[in-house]
């Protein structure tokens, strides 16, 4: 047993308990946020110390501790850090259960970290459930009609997708007799080509896995829950869902499909599935975003569209040879850039909406005057989401599309770039009301210091990854290279 390799995860679990207990003892609730933040910092520090080492998997190969896993762990911890920063003012809305709120955020993060590390179907499933259940509770924290409805939708669809996933896993297990990903790959490789082509059970199992994970990353046709849940959930949790949950889904997909279904014939198949899904997902996400009047719903559809761009990377992954890391690293880089961008946008939304008490885009009119710095940061993030330089979103798209073109997916890239243009229309609408509209009242919209700090961090990240992406890409490549399972 190498329990010390689990310290980052154990830290979060322990601190989650500490936060709940402290909640009953301490009157000053801000302390809870500080405790949670320190848990994240400790966990990140330990993870960082493990970076670069080529450590074998633990728990009889159920959890990997490769750089790929550590990259995602750090990403999730960073996201959780910004989300908690963004929550500090927001949680004042909740009279009770502030401790539970922070504890659940920590537990959801723990679940995602395990998802990224899981190298076995069983551990994947357990980690996925831990994440889903924590998020579900978080979604209904506002306890009003919308929030409860959102949570109910989320839990029903999460249960449904879990069932589909389990069914897929059962089929894969039935075909190969293994649950460990690399052993599944070996078992498939041992089967002669002719048998493989005639085995609908394995292909069906694979498709069901795509469906199950598709729910996590909000790919069409499993995106139905997104707008309602995004609208109903507390805004920091919406931010968390839109970046961390999606990133965790992609982490699992990359590992499962790369490690278990790396077989040439199979990967050609799932590559086509992902390519088609990518095209449909981004188109539906972008078109449906156009008529939205609620900013959280708009970002819901926007996150569907972004999942579409990311799936271009998955399609590339299936075509690329195993030694070609660009397919994987471009997804990692995109996820990082997207995390900064979307978190920045959501922190700005929290800063504005909290004061206005409204999520309607029309109420953002004149924000350029009323809250210039917040509006500027939100504008930067929107530009990044469109994919206009010098923001990170442009570099992320450039990188992911470059690798796609390199592997013969020019048609998909053309669809994707045209989609980016469509997306400009609705993203710019927000920019337009903020800067061009006459403010309804001259009153300034102040924001707290923590929100400004979070916003500053996110905006710096967006600019840094956009102007000097070299080191970010190198990190992503490094994480994608050492890939043990």
């Amino acid at each position: 047993m190498n329990l010390e390799l689990l310290i980052p995860e154990l830290t979060l679990a322990v601190f989650a308990g500490v936060v709940i207990i402290a909640d009953t003892l301490i009157k000053q609730k801000r302390v809870l946020a500080q405790v949670s933040l320190s848990a994240l910092v400790i966990s990140a520090g330990v993870s960082l110390a493990m970076w670069g080492g080529n450590i074998p998997a633990i728990f009889s190969n159920m959890l990997a501790t490769d750089n790929f896993a550590i990259f995602f762990k750090l990403l999730f911890l960073g996201i959780a850090f910004l989300v908690i920063l963004a929550s500090i003012d927001y949680v004042d809305k909740f009279v009770h259960f502030q401790g539970e709120y922070y504890a659940l955020v920590l537990l959801a993060t723990l679940g995602m970290m395990l998802m990224a590390a899981s190298a076995d179907l069983i551990s994947i499933y357990v980690a996925l459930e831990l994440t889903s259940i924590s998020l579900c509770a978080l979604v209904c924290f506002l306890k009003d009609a919308k929030s409860t409805e959102a949570s109910l939708k989320y839990i029903l669809l999460a249960a449904l997708s879990s069932a589909i996933l389990l069914y897929g896993m059962a089929l894969v297990f039935g075909f190969t007799g293994k649950t460990q990903l690399s052993e599944i790959a070996k078992a498939i490789q041992a089967v002669p080509m002719s048998t493989l082509v005639n085995s609908p059970a394995l292909v069906l199992g694979m498709v069901l896995l795509i469906a199950g994970f598709g729910f996590k990353i909000a790919a069409v046709p499993f995106q139905m829950w997104v707008p309602d849940v995004y609208e109903g959930a507390p805004t920091p949790i919406t931010a968390y869902l839109s970046v961390a949950s999606k990133a965790a889904g992609f982490a699992v997909i990359i590992r499962v499909f790369f490690a278990a279904f790396g077989n040439a014939w199979l990967s050609m198949n799932w590559s086509i599935i992902f390519a088609v899904l990518a095209a449909i997902t981004m188109t539906i996400g972008n078109v449906a975003a156009i008529p939205q009047s609620n900013i959280k719903r708009l970002f819901g559809y926007s996150s569907i569209a972004q999942a579409g761009y990311l799936m271009v990377g998955l399609a590339t992954l299936g075509i690329a040879s195993a030694s070609d890391i660009a397919g994987r690293s471009s997804i990692l880089f995109f996820l990082t850039a997207y995390a900064f961008t979307n978190l920045g946008a959501f922190i700005a939304i929290i800063a504005i909406s909290n004061k206005l008490g409204s999520d309607l885009i029309d109420d953002y009119t004149g924000m350029g005057k009323r809250a210039p710095l917040v509006a500027l940061a939100l504008t930067l993030c929107l530009i990044s989401l469109i994919g206009i330089p010098p923001a990170a979103g442009f570099m992320a798209k450039f990188y992911i599309f470059t690798t796609a073109v390199k592997h013969g997916l020019l048609w998909l890239v053309i669809i994707a770039v045209i989609n980016s243009v469509i997306s400009a229309y609705y993203y710019l609408r927000v920019v337009k009301v903020m800067w061009l509209g006459e403010a309804v009242s001259p009153e300034k919209v102040p924001s707290s210091a923590v929100l400004r700090l979070g916003l500053l961090l996110a905006a710096l990240g967006v600019l840094l990854l956009g102007i000097l992406p070299g080191n970010g890409i190198k990190l992503a490549e490094f994480a994608a290279r050492i890939f043990t399972f």
Binding site: T402, V405, L436, G470, I473
Partner: protein
């Protein structure tokens, strides 16, 4: 840091200072903008003066700066100027400085205004001096943002509609360009414009055919130039933009399209030859259709806007006639049009500002009340219709001679003659416009209209002087242009 980096980033430093540091006083804001754009212009002039014009320098990029920027993508921060980009760079800094002077009377949100204006200058300069395709594309894209804000906040008329239309057209064009650049990158394994030009398609490592890549990239430039039928954003954007933005738009921004076309021709000389006829036909349609529509305009500013479509048709004709002289003519036409139309838009803005009227049917007889404006406007108009001793004449004459004598495109003589007809129509609408605005019976309601003040005279006379200089001694520009064009013509087999 070399000269080019300073030139490129000084305006952005100015923009940053204006936005966040210098405070709210209008004088300080305007002063900062003027100082920064002026230093930029001086530096560009120094580069222009010290540029090596010896024949041995033909095709070489000077003032090069090359630093590895994104190692995994093999992208470089690579700047440099050759004979083609140098005049465009100088023109941009010149108009960039003048547009600050032109904007002197902006009182609405001046901080944001000047910050965007300076950012715009940087992005246009970046397009002209970048030698790395990724860097080029980034500057190409950034330009959209300041222009969007400039039109939609400080514009007039249907400003938000025009701004959005402009953005959507540009982004659609760049979407195709991005796909093209990615294909080119994949095909050649390089993002360096120099390598792709000099090594040509010998670098191609793939089976990807060059023609689709050529057209993917060309689409973006065709939108920007604009080429019929992708031109419909132009009249809206030019008309509704504030004066200085119109000057930058018509003066240098649409030249990015022509400049890009010449570069892409040098990437794919064979493809360019093969499809040149189609583009020549589109050019002639643009010239004649643009001129005909211009004739019918009743809005002062819209008239000038439409005339650009016709004039950019000459540029397209000159480029795709693919001859040495015609390419020099097209490039000179870009410079000349930048100066002349820049001046025209500045003058239109002045008349509109002082007389509060832009409908040609209501204007008239202003020559008595505003003699200085009338004289300068007439010079600009005559330059636009190509009167000898103005830059317009030199540019159009060289373009037509070059196109007529070009051997690369069959039947080019016929199309050139059709194109020359455009000049006649141009003379018609320019003279008619001058007559409707400045001559005829003096109207009493314009008695109070002020003539140009000292500051306005500065930029007017500066532009007039340069227009005359290029008209009388075009070699000041063409000597440089030839150095950039001759290697491209060699690639074309001429």
């Amino acid at each position: 840091m070399g000269y080019l980096s300073w030139i490129l980033f000084l305006p952005i430093v100015g923009a940053f200072l204006i936005a966040f540091v210098v405070g709210k006083r209008e004088n300080v804001i305007r002063g900062t903008a003027a100082v920064f754009t002026f230093i930029t212009f001086v530096l560009a002039a120094v580069v222009f003066a010290t540029f090596d014009r010896s024949p041995a320098a033909a095709g070489l990029f000077q003032f090069e700066e090359k630093v590895l920027w994104i190692a995994p993508l093999k992208a470089y921060y690579h700047l440099g100027v050759d004979g083609l980009s140098l005049p465009m760079m100088l023109l941009t800094t010149f108009l960039g400085f003048l547009s600050v002077l032109i904007s002197w009377k902006i009182h609405l949100r001046p901080r944001e205004y000047f910050a965007w204006l300076l950012l715009l200058e940087t992005s246009i300069l970046g397009v002209f001096v970048s030698l790395d395709l990724l860097l080029f594309f980034i500057f190409w894209e950034i330009e959209v943002i300041p222009m969007y804000f400039l039109i939609s906040i400080w514009g007039a008329g249907r400003k938000e509609y025009s701004a959005t239309k402009y953005v959507v057209y540009t982004l659609f064009g760049s979407a195709f360009m991005l796909a093209g650049i990615l294909s080119l990158y994949f095909a050649t394994g390089s993002l360096s414009m120099v390598d792709i030009t000099t090594k040509g398609l010998g670098m191609v490592q793939s089976v990807m055919r060059p023609a689709p890549i050529f057209f993917l990239i060309l689409t973006a430039f065709a939108v920007k130039l604009p080429v019929f039928p992708l031109h419909t954003w132009l009249p809206d954007a030019h008309t509704d933009a504030p004066t200085a933005a119109s000057v930058m738009l018509a003066g240098v921004l649409i030249k990015m399209g022509g400049y890009g076309m010449i570069r892409v021709v040098s990437f794919f000389p064979d493809v360019a030859r093969q499809y040149a006829l189609i583009l020549v036909v589109l050019a002639i349609i643009g010239v004649l259709y643009g001129a005909a529509v211009t004739m019918r305009q009743t809005d002062f500013k819209r008239l000038i806007a439409y005339s650009s479509i016709s004039h950019m048709g000459y540029v397209l004709l000159g480029i795709f006639a693919l001859g040495k002289v015609s390419l020099v003519g097209a490039s000179l036409q870009m410079v000349s049009h930048g100066l002349v139309t820049g001046l025209l838009f500045a003058m239109v803005g002045l008349v509109m500002h002082n007389a509060h009227e832009r409908d040609l049917r209501n204007l008239g007889g202003l020559a008595r009340q505003v003699p200085v404006i009338t004289v300068v406007f007439s010079i600009a108009g005559l330059a636009s219709l190509g009167l000898p001793t103005t830059s317009g004449f030199a540019a159009e004459f060289i373009t037509f001679i070059g196109s007529y004598t070009s051997t690369a495109v069959p039947g080019i003589q016929f199309y050139t003659i059709l194109g020359v007809l455009g000049v006649v129509v141009t003379a018609g609408y320019i003279l008619w416009m001058l007559q409707r605005v400045f001559y005829g019976p003096v109207l009493e309601k314009y008695n109070e209209v002020k003539d140009a003040d000292a500051l306005e005279k500065v930029y007017m006379f500066a532009l007039v002087a340069v227009i005359m200089l290029v008209g009388i001694y075009p070699a000041v520009v063409t000597d440089v242009l030839k150095l950039g064009i001759s290697p491209i013509v060699k690639l074309l087999g001429g």
